[in-house]
Amino acid sequence: MKWGVIRFPGSLDDADALWALGEVMGQEARALWHKDETLGGAECVVLPGGFSYGDYLRCGAIARFAPIMRAVAHFAAEGGLVIGICNGFQILCEARLLPGALTRNRSLSFICQPVTVRVENAATPFTCAARKGDLLRLPIKHGEGRYVAPEAELDAMERRGQVLLRYVDDRGEASDAANPNGSMRSIAGVANERFNVFGLMPHPEHAVESALFGQDGLRLFESIVLSRSSLRLSQERAVR
């Protein structure tokens, strides 16, 4: 499967994403430049973590105007798979491809620590290799990760199953103590209404090798591969 990882000025985790997808998973992954106007045939586009454009004005606010973002918006509108990690999540919210916004952590501190997240909906292209209720151990590292959205919108998102990941404790329970940044309803990752755009604050690309933090991050990338191959299979069946 072909993956494109976008490099914005100030992206940090593009190399780790390329390593995770290309070296660890054997996928065809290549970097895309923020000035590109096409996605080079990518079947899934990754917006990596970092501090694009210095996080000026608001995190992700300027990256949204990069030439490649027009192609990303078009790709998403056609149903293409897009995943935004950390700063990528912030960019997708600013670009209105995902609901809500990411704000300053409740503690005002930059947080760099392992977290446990619970899979809330496994019937999506981003989580289908997991089961509902599975716990994943992933790292977070951010200063602005507190997810907020209007209460009415959060209710609608919960009803539709758009909350894919929630911060929980080791027993899988959501609580104030297990909520690292003060996100509303302990939300760690959300999808759009069509379930083809996904954003999350934890970093799956940093959790793909047993020697370095474990491999729980693979589950999310494997979901995307699985969803693409089952889609291809059903398309081939339809052609036959």
Binding site: R58, A101, T103, A149, P150
Partner: protein, 81 residues
């Protein structure tokens, strides 16, 4: 025309910076302080033939970039420069 834009966190959004500063003011002895909110102040010049035109431009700038309506409120003032 000179445009002054004031961007503040929405009332229903937690403002941890404002809260921290409020605590600090109280520890300095300003016990009567409450509701500290921290925002941004942006100034810019815009070429426009009238105050109305400048106001309409400023509103569009706020909607599209200067403020994020999900988390922020804004207001602006326009004056001849």
């Amino acid at each position: 025309m000179l445009v002054k834009v004031f961007v503040t966190p929405r009332k229903d959004i937690l403002d941890p910076q404002g809260r921290a500063v409020e605590q600090s003011l109280k520890s300095l002895g300003f016990k009567n302080v409450s509701d500290v909110r921290i925002g941004k102040y942006i100034t810019l010049n815009v070429e426009a033939s009238s105050l109305e035109e400048a106001r309409a431009e400023a509103a569009r700038m706020c909607e599209q970039l200067l403020a994020n309506p999900v988390i922020e409120d804004y207001r602006f003032e326009v004056e001849n420069s």
